[in-house]
Symmetry: C2
Subunit: 215 residues, 2 copies
């Protein structure tokens, strides 16, 4: 398809698509004349992923470029490509804990992963940005005097495990490896607000059940 | 306790505490002389909550003030105070969908709540910011061509339901009503990064199981 059709089918203006091409977020089309290029379905998919990252994930262009370069790194196996693309996503902006606080939170996180049998994450340890995000979150809970022992965190981890099974089910449902990696990144970002909004709705249900005056 | 001790026990500088007092985030202490005031445990708890909202939740001071004024509204019953305080928290910054997109996403969200038997949320409908956040998330998934039918969302909702049960268990464990409301707000904010980081760790486990080359 030509640029105009790519724009129409993606709902993204030609000016924005040209910007993504210039910034290297979208690979160039197949040139068919000095002024025209031909685009295909992978371009359309890539545009969707860029939109997911910028509009929902609120990622700056430089971060999108890093995520996409990991998505496209065909020297890696499937699992590592998904992993490195997700690792390049932002992982919150909390300050890292220091000294004893950091060590305590790290011990709790390690104990939690061991209890869960999450051997892959346990081995990756502090190299993983999701792990460091968890350590920061545990340290914040503890610093502010809220419960953050392994047994407090386990129910959250078990729920997260179920969500991840659903995520990977969805991802594995895509036909080719390329599409699976793109879906892994997009769904990680797009289902976060789904999960957080549903938690708040569920909290309101539970709160009403426990504390509500209306039956 | 005096201001110096409040600062030491909370780990917050006296300058910052004075700023919170001036901004009306922290209620004034009991004046014991023209230059000194006496503070007590509720002040310490309130400081922790302010820290949770500003440092982890990244809320601007005006939003913190709104959340706290709902926490303190004793004209409401327990459930309504928790609800209105949580409603005042930010609910993401995605643009609201329009027209047909909005209607489609709304229908899906309504069907989901009905399927779940979440009658309270169903009745509150679009008045609830968490519900509007869900509708925006569904609309984004759909616009970008990712699955967002009721059956795709159900596993996320069930996991969210389990998380909420854990949340309310924790909240109900606090002795007095005041503490419960503060814990509800703090835990809603503080456990979000716990949940999101654990989901990413669990995704890595699942991805390794399905796609990994190492056994």
């Amino acid at each position: 398809m030509r640029l105009a059709e790519l724009s129409e089918r993606s709902g993204i203006s030609t000016a924005t698509i040209k910007y993504y091409l210039r910034e290297g977020l979208l690979p160039p089309g197949r040139r068919i004349s000095t002024t025209q290029a031909e685009y295909d379905d992978p371009h359309l998919r890539r545009l969707r992923l860029i939109r997911a990252l910028t509009q929902v994930g609120r990622l700056p262009v430089a971060t999108v470029r890093e995520v996409l370069s990991n998505v496209d790194d065909s020297s890696l196996d499937q699992h590592s490509r998904i992993g490195s693309a997700v690792w390049a996503l932002p992982h919150g902006s909390q300050p890292a804990p220091e000294g004893q606080d950091e060590q305590d939170a790290d011990l709790t996180a390690q104990a939690l992963l061991e209890e869960l049998g999450w051997g892959y994450s346990h081995a990756a340890g502090s190299a993983s940005p999701a792990y460091r995000m968890l350590v920061r979150a545990i340290a914040a809970l503890r610093r502010l005097g809220y419960p953050a022992a392994t047994e407090n965190l386990l129910p959250y981890a078990r729920a997260a495990g179920q969500v991840a099974t659903t995520d990977l089910e969805l991802i594995a449902g895509y036909d080719d490896a390329e599409e699976q990696i793109e879906a892994a990144v997009a769904c990680t970002v797009l289902y976060e607000p789904v999960l957080l909004s549903l938690r708040r709705l569920a909290e309101a249900e539970e709160s009403n059940r426990r504390f509500g005056t209306k039956s």
